[in-house]
Amino acid sequence: MLNLHLILFLAFGAVAVAGAVNLLAQTHPINSALSLIAVMAALAGEYLLLGAEFVAAVQVIVYAGAIMVLFVFTIMLLNAGVEERTQGSRVSVLLGIPGMLLGSILVAWVVLRHSGTEAVAVGSLPGDPKTIGQMLFHEFLLPFEITSVLILIAIMGAVVLASKPPSTPAAGLTREAE
């Protein structure tokens, strides 16, 4: 099973990497969104390999099934087109890309230098819903409740932000309504 584990890891990892790269390569947001869904599905697979089956399920339901639907919905609603290749920021390319590369290399160097030979077994930590639920409602009760408040505020904020202004018909609005 050793090889099978590695093979599965590599397979899901390849999908995730391909999706991530595709996200960057695609110019149309809907393609990027679908790539991201692929990445998320692949990550759900990785979670299953790590024994976190509940996390995997929630990953699919929440991320792929809800958040990304929201993204696709927004893309459809705004009728987003192919990305324009404007040159708005030199800084992001001249400073950001080297910075990102430097940071990644440094982190990778640290990770690889300090990684031991210990390996993570398949399902070595059972992440079944029951244990997670107990933990969530005992040790993490307060953060849990706070996130519930957070999400409530987010809902209200989203409603307020996205609701139409009552009297001033924006230009974008008329197009949606036709």
Binding site: A16, V17, V21, L36, A119, S124, A162
Partner: protein, 100 residues
């Protein structure tokens, strides 16, 4: 048996892809998706560490990250819609009024 570092490198790669997306993408929605990609990369390292150290708290954190991501997506997309209504564009290079 897969070493922990493999997971971490994968997670780091996804994160780096997210950062790169933020840097090079012009569409606000795509940039937003890059952020989600970064969060996913971090989540992977959380779960990997949880398995490595036999600490379920790592998985709990993933839930919190998801909740935050969901809240962020809801508010962020609402903002994007509001921006689009007033600016009629999704190009981040053209949404640059917040400067001196």
């Amino acid at each position: 048996m897969v070493p922990l570092s493999y997971y971490l490198v994968l997670s780091g790669f996804l994160f780096a892809c997210g950062v790169t997306g933020f840097l090079i993408k012009r569409n606000i929605i795509t940039i937003f998706m890059s952020i989600e990609l970064m969060l996913n990369g971090v989540n992977l390292s959380f779960v990997a560490f949880a398995a490595q150290w036999h600490a379920l708290a790592g998985q709990i954190f993933v839930f919190f990250v998801m909740v935050v991501a969901a809240a962020e997506a809801a508010v962020g997309l609402a903002i994007i819609i509001a921006v689009y209504r007033t600016r009629e564009t999704l190009n981040i290079d053209q949404v640059n009024l917040l400067k001196l």
